[in-house]
């Protein structure tokens, strides 16, 4: 199994390190043609404006949309989550629109409000995970087909819609590979969605 990590800008090396730690192969993706030979893609954290400009410049948009339509999973962290989102600040993006969420960019404020926090992730069994939020976005709302997997401060911080997974925090910045393993199980079709957990989290959020 080979995972591609979009390497236009940002923390792509950390994701590659994590994937290799999970005993899967990982390659850097800088041009759209390189998407053909991979089984799943990670869009890393970085500066979403920078990465989006480079994605457009090198004609990634249509290729990434057909990649998703082919059923292969995509995991976006932080900036990656923004790039995959349908809406930013209530406005439909002219970008990938691959997951039905509305995000607010840099929603916690300047860097002094970046933080570590312990959250509970539904793997689907609930487990504690130390999440690192760096100038992170907030997921303001999610569509009816989007499954919440983790909550923090009454907002969703990790959600999934079919083959698209996003987190607003950075699992690649810790040595904890459980979320990367979850993503690899999505590729193997071994990670089913549990609707019971979904309902539970939706009720929890006020």
């Amino acid at each position: 199994m080979i995972i591609g990590v979009l390497a236009l800008q940002g923390a792509f090396r950390e994701h590659i390190h994590m994937i290799k730690k999970c005993d899967a192969g990982a390659v850097e993706i800088r041009l759209p043609a390189q998407l053909d030979n991979i089984d799943g893609l990670i869009i890393p954290g970085g500066e979403s404006t920078t990465i989006s400009k480079l994605m457009m410049e090198y004609d990634f948009l249509d290729r990434l949309k057909s990649f998703a339509v082919s059923g292969r999973p995509i995991f976006g962290t932080c900036a990656g989550a923004i790039l995959l989102a349908d809406k930013v600040g209530g406005k439909k993006q002219d970008l990938l629109n691959l997951i039905d969420i509305d995000v607010k960019r840099n929603a916690y404020g300047p860097q002094v409000y970046s933080r570590e926090a312990e959250i509970t992730v539904e793997f689907p069994e609930p487990e504690i995970f130390r999440a690192v939020f760096i100038r992170a976005p907030i997921i303001d709302s999610i569509g009816s087909h989007v499954i919440p997997l983790a909550l923090y401060n009454n907002t969703y911080v990790m959600v999934r819609q079919d083959n698209i997974l996003v987190s607003t925090f950075h699992p690649e910045l810790t040595e904890d590979s459980r979320i990367h393993q979850y993503f690899l199980r999505m590729i193997n079709h071994k990670q089913q969605i549990t609707w019971k957990q979904n309902e539970f989290l939706r009720v929890q959020k006020i």
Binding site: R30, E47, T49, R105, V132
Partner: protein, 294 residues
């Protein structure tokens, strides 16, 4: 349960900037140009290093009013410089909500002996270094990111190359030393022993290392990336050139595709004049910024 300003949160922001270009700007308009060109961050300044060098006088932290206007004008993180050792300037920048502080030799040093104790701050710091010992001293003081100093405001990449090579040579040397020699090497480097053993083991710095000081063309930027930089700072090189927007855009492409000569060739075409450069030997040693703080 929530923790702010931890090492991971500070170095984490530096990790997110990797593979990117950080550009010096002096106005909100320039900041927008930088953001539109794909900069990962901007450095808010009153004067770019080339002007500081030309005009002389004491160079201080930028007027907070200018910094605030620049923060409001862009969504990418904003950095600003403080004088070496001037921790009150750093307190002011932290209060303003700056995302990263550069304790910089480009400004006139406030303290000739001591740098800022950066552990006391929630906001992360980047510091300059010309060799491994200096880099590790700054990390020991709490820097979350290093940049090789180069020679700011010259448009001459030769010092940036020298410093990047010096750091990588220093790392290679540590990695090759037997363990019993590391304490003496720490003494010789003037660096904390724990960091020396960490670098010897990991064969890399424990924080992100960008290149700065003299980068003026896409080729310069790609050269520094191939030499092992995690990203680049471009100071005077953009807004002292003939067509800043075009050059900024080209340098961003060159940093992403630093190993692809076809793309670098394509983006290097027709950029207009680069900033006029300075030959290092003509500057005179007393005017070199790189030896401020060590």
């Amino acid at each position: 349960m929530e923790k702010f300003g931890t090492l991971e949160v500070k170095t984490g922001l530096a990790e997110m900037l990797k593979g990117g270009v950080i550009m010096d700007v002096t106005t909100p308009e320039q900041a927008k140009i930088a953001e539109n060109a794909g900069a990962v961050s901007v450095m808010a300044l009153e004067r770019v290093p080339a002007d500081i060098r030309a005009q002389g006088g004491v160079a201080r932290m930028t007027d907070p009013a200018i910094i605030e206007k620049i923060i409001e004008s862009v969504s990418i993180p904003v950095m600003a410089k403080v004088r070496i050792g001037h921790y009150v300037e750093a307190q002011i920048l932290e209060a303003l909500g700056i995302d990263f502080i550069d304790e910089s030799e480009v400004l006139t040093p406030a303290d000739e002996t001591y740098h800022i104790n950066k552990w006391k701050f929630t906001v992360p710091f980047v510091c300059g270094a010309i060799n491994l010992g200096e880099a590790l001293r700054r990390i020991g003081e709490g820097a979350a990111m290093i940049r090789t100093k180069g020679e700011a405001g010259t448009g001459n990449v030769v010092e940036a190359v020298r410093h990047m090579r010096a750091i990588h040579d220093g790392i290679a040397r540590l990695a090759a030393l037997p363990e019993e020699e590391l304490m003496t090497e720490a003494k010789n480097l003037g660096a904390p022993y724990e960091l020396v053993t960490m670098v010897a083991r990991d064969k890399k710095l424990p924080v992100v290392n960008f290149s700065a000081g003299g980068i003026a063309t896409p080729a310069d930027a790609a050269l520094m990336m191939q030499l092992g930089a995690d990203g680049v700072f471009v100071g005077s090189g953009i807004f002292k050139s003939e067509d800043p927007a075009k050059r900024a855009h080209a340098i961003v492409q060159a940093v992403t595709h630093y190993n692809d000569p076809d793309i670098i060739a394509q983006v290097s075409k027709g950029l207009g004049h680069a900033m006029p450069g300075l030959e290092i030997s003509e500057i005179g040693e007393v005017n070199l910024l790189q030896f401020r703080g060590n």
